[in-house]
């Protein structure tokens, strides 16, 4: 099982290989990528230049292990891999990857979505956005709507 906060680029193929076994016919993977445009606090889109991710590493990894336990309890699945990047990221780079393997694909979809939803809502990782609008620019710690 891969549970990882890392400052290295995310290797999605590694995550997928980790959960691909002879018993798992269905593998679902999610990749969260840094978008060029993101809404500012006023709901207006801002152009993003880079992001800086910061984690409470030990607590984050512990919570991610907890998500893996929940996936095992809910779906009986143990083939899960989760990796979240920290540090400086450019637009288009993967920030987070989750892969789940299951004998059948329906539960792989459900469990993968559950894992990323729970990760995004609960795992202590923040991001600072370097942004610009037509009239303004700055660097802001961005709040995740899901956690409010």
């Amino acid at each position: 099982m891969i549970i990882r906060i890392t400052d290295r680029p995310i290797d999605l193929q590694e995550l997928i290989s980790e959960v691909t076994t002879e018993d798992n016919g269905g593998v679902v993977a999610f990749v969260g990528v840094v978008r060029r445009w993101n809404d500012g606090p006023d709901g207006q889109p801002r152009e993003v230049f880079w992001l800086e991710y910061e984690a409470y590493r030990e607590a984050a990894e512990e919570l991610m292990r907890g998500i893996a336990s929940q996936v095992e309890q809910k779906w009986g699945l143990t083939a899960i891999a989760m990796s979240h990047r920290v540090g400086h990221l450019e637009v288009g780079e993967p920030a987070v990857g989750v892969a789940v393997g299951a004998p059948h694909r329906g539960e792989a979809f459900e469990a993968c979505q559950y894992a990323i939803d729970t990760l995004k809502a609960t795992v202590p990782i923040w991001k600072k956005e370097s942004w610009e609008t037509g009239s303004d620019s700055g660097q802001s710690w961005v709040i995740n709507k899901e956690s409010l």
Binding site: E54, Y56, W141, I143, S147
Partner: protein, 84 residues
């Protein structure tokens, strides 16, 4: 004197100017009380304090949790990363 280790991240880390500091702990002091004390030195920490989450020894905890000497307590600004 008894102390706790306090961890700061993101906006809070910038307000405090460091990611970690040791802070004196009085007897029967709650996490909320420690945060109130910190906010006297670092007023920025009170901004949005109703949405601040508390972790004690790397697990989410109620802000009324009584701290023990040597505990690691963290006050978390709302979790980020909501782009996807």
């Amino acid at each position: 004197m008894d102390k706790v280790k306090v961890k700061f991240f993101a906006a809070f880390r910038e307000i405090v100017g460091q990611g970690e500091l040791n802070w004196p702990l009085q007897k029967d002091q709650t996490a909320a009380s420690v945060l109130a004390g910190l906010a006297q030195d670092y007023p920025g920490l009170t901004a949005g304090s109703s949405t601040v989450l508390v972790m004690v020894n790397q697990r989410y905890a109620d802000r009324q949790t009584l701290l023990q000497p040597g505990d690691e307590v963290a006050f978390l600004p709302p979790v980020g990363g909501g782009q996807f």
